[in-house]
Amino acid sequence: MTIEIKTAKMDTIRNTFGHIARRFGDKPATRYQEATYDIAAQTNFHYKPLWDQDHELNDPSRTAITMEDWYALKDPRQFYYGTYVQNRARMQENAESNFGFFDKRDLADKLPEGMKERLIKHLIPLRHVEHTANLNNMYCTAYANYCTAVAQATLFEGMDRFGNAQYYARIGLAIDGNTGDSLAAAKEEWMNNPIWQGLRAYCEKTLTIDDWFETFIAQNIVLDTLVDNLYFEQYDAWLTENNAGDILMLTEFMRERSRESQRWSDSLLKTVINENRQNADQVKSWISTWRIRAQSALEPLANDLLSDDALAEAYSALATRLKKIGLAD
């Protein structure tokens, strides 16, 4: 049995804004559409940026990638601010309850002998990698500002990565009795242990890239795919085998988030390479450059973290992902 309350339906004079109607017709639009499409300034800029006199303030020519319509790079998750924060709020609630459970059951004390030291050496330093990812995605937001569909998605990605960095730090606090000692020790590893230096150099290098789409490739495609495979597939399995599977509760946020975010970056890259031949060639060239750099960067870490075969397996995951996107060698 359903009941129906009568409401006054009023005739509208239009269903949506002009720029939305020109794309999708004058019909009721979604909130994602109205929040995203064609809201960024396109033309008639007043001044040249003092920090880059060769470009306009919002300028698609800051990247070698070209698009007939940049808004084709829409987010399959349809994240605008409201849906983004509400989604992440649900995920953080889950993370909070995992951290709470870990703490309440004293799971840190139940970790096998030597495991805390290994986590400090291998897992906690990832917060610095996440911080790099934060900066790199902010870089994309700052320069993709002519297309809100891209700029907002990279902003969400950037803030997510900052959130990840803080979660890694909290894992440290969860295993060191909330003293922060583990974080100092992990930073020491990041700064001085040879196993991390290649990756640290890679991170520093990505922060000096000029073309924001190259930044996107070096960070969100090449490095993230490799690191995610190493940690969320292989290291997870190792932890489980070595009676430290409880740690997976504390990285669940990062793992789930990464899977979800890949849907977006896959779709974005696919659209870019299918746009024209030059895009595809340019992307391939960037991927091959950064793939080589990542190899030497990650090798000492992967060998120490898992085994001498680990990095090869991560590269095969990268190849699979690229193939799925349409970037087979």
Partner: protein, 501 residues
């Protein structure tokens, strides 16, 4: 079994500040290349005091709560045709200005804070800027969603984004944000973070939101309440950036003083439209512009600058002028829009007798003497069927881009102020000494101003062929979105909905 609890400050330091590191493999200047060219000296980023210690998970949690409530109200507002509850359809013109002129500024701020949030060398400042970038995105998106319902029932909202890049009076606001975004990261932070957010928020955001509250606009005022805590965060960031720059090095003081002088003036010029909105556009008035200025600037701003004195910062020397202008600003602005409303995306009207009396009461020194006779004359002409429109195109100030409407309020308020200067053989015109000084400090920047009237004359706004072509270029729905409220389709629909003949 937590043995020792870190205090909040230490915990935040570990969770945030400690994420960055000293580079070993690249020159840090290549990663943060814009820190020095403005002349600002940063000796120690560690001295940055985090203005709010919000971790990302807490941010998601609080903001999601606010969004959930906000959108519940939006949904209820639409479902129940909330637009019928505003005091009068004339009110809606105030939020047309908000959507076309202010909201795109939020997106510009989002973009500017993303830039500084990437490029400042200190992580504490970066993260605060990044969160503000995210907040500003929130603000434009929630504003669009609030106005989305009005757009279905009123003219003048539908082309807000297209107009933002083109329409003459909107270029005033666009040039303001373009000016800030094209500056270096520290000037941007002072311009938007301090001058705009900290000093002027109460004179822009608050009047629009209070106007909504007084006039039954539940969607907009709910947005206002929801954004209040964001604004509070932005204000603390604005104050921290100023204090930080001033404490870092004494050489920063004159640079910061120059920026404060420039940006308070730039911001104040924009407030002209707020003054007019408060005095003329709200059927139910909140307070007069003059009262708002006295409350929020003369009192609150005075205390702020007292506080900054110890750093060697002085109140800009034009505050006496502003004080005198508060008696005139709104009247000059509404008259300008009334006489040019064939080219505005909102309606204008002659104040009712009751409103004229209110203005006389609020502006005893100036209204009856200078402005009331004008409105009485306008009414006489309109009654005779000779409604006055200004046919010519106004001369614009090269800096603020506002037509030359400001008068010499300290001497003879009937004289328009004209200033000009020569640069590279060309003459440039200004509305005030202050706008001229701003130009003279950076002429190479301001010669590039995209001045709408110049552009029309050069045929860049729809080509030659007169104002009709320009209106097409603006996508201005002539006869619907512009000119008098009386007789407009907005009025007609309103009367039908309300059952008034």
């Amino acid at each position: 079994m937590s043995t020792k609890k870190l205090n909040l400050k230490d915990k935040y330091r570990l969770l945030t500040r400690d994420l960055d590191w000293d580079f070993s493999y690249e020159d840090r200047k290549d990663a943060f290349p814009f820190e020095e060219f403005e002349g600002i000296k940063i000796t120690d980023w560690d001295k940055w005091e985090d203005p709010f210690r919000l971790t990302m998970d807490a941010y998601w949690k609080y903001q999601a709560e606010k969004e959930k409530k906000l959108y519940a109200i939006y949904d209820a507002f639409s479902q129940n045709n909330g637009h019928l509850n505003v005091t009068d359809a004339r009110y809606v013109n105030a939020i047309k200005i908000f959507l076309t002129a202010v909201s795109p500024g939020e997106l510009a701020a989002h973009s500017g804070f993303a830039f500084t949030g990437r490029h400042m060398g200190g992580i504490g400042a970066r993260i605060a800027a990044q969160m503000q970038s995210l907040d500003e995105l929130r603000h434009i998106q929630t504003q669009i969603h609030a106005m989305s319902h009005y757009n279905k029932f009123f003219d003048g909202f539908d082309e807000f984004s297209h107009m933002h890049d083109r329409v003459w009076y909107i270029s005033v606001v666009k040039s303001f944000f373009d000016d800030a975004r094209s500056a270096g990261p520290f000037e941007f932070m002072v311009a938007i973070g301090f001058s705009f957010e900290y000093v002027l928020t109460n004179l822009l955001f608050v009047p629009f939101m209070s106007g909504a509250a007084y006039n039954g606009d539940m969607a907009t005022v709910t947005f206002g309440f929801s954004a209040q805590s964001d604004e509070a965060r932005h204000m603390t960031l604005g104050l921290e950036i100023i204090k930080f720059l001033l404490e870092q090095h004494e050489d920063n003081v004159p640079i910061v003083q120059k920026w404060i002088d420039k940006w308070l003036w730039r911001g104040y010029r924009i407030l002209t439209v707020v003054a007019m909105m408060m005095d003329y556009m709200l059927p139910q008035k909140v307070m007069s512009w003059k009262e708002a200025w006295e409350l929020y600037f003369e009192q609150a701003g005075g205390a702020l600058f007292k506080d900054l004195e110890r750093y060697g910062i002085k109140m800009p020397d034009y505050t006496d002028l502003i004080k005198a202008e508060k008696e005139h600003l709104s009247h000059q602005a509404w008259w300008t829009f009334y006489t040019n409303s064939q080219a505005t995306a909102f309606h204008t009207w002659i104040p009712s007798n009751q409103e004229l009396d209110w203005l006389s009461e609020k502006y005893p020194e100036t209204f009856d003497k200078y402005y009331r006779p004008r409105w009485e004359m306008a009414k006489e002409m309109a009654d005779k069927g000779e409604r006055y429109y200004n046919e010519g195109l106004p001369q614009l100030c090269q800096t603020c881009q506002i037509p030359m409407i400001y008068t010499d309020v300290q001497n003879d308020p009937r004289d328009i102020v004209y200033r000009s200067t020569k640069y590279q053989g060309e003459r440039f015109h200004f509305c005030s000494d202050q706008c001229q000084h701003i130009f003279e400090n950076e002429p190479e920047k301001y010669v590039h101003s995209w001045l709408p009237v110049h552009q029309i004359f050069q045929g860049n706004c729809g080509g030659p062929g007169g104002l009709e072509k320009v209106m097409d270029y603006y996508k201005l729905d002539v006869g619907k979105a512009n000119m008098d409220y009386v007789g407009s389709p907005d009025e007609e629909r309103w009367k039908t909905w309300k059952g008034v003949a």
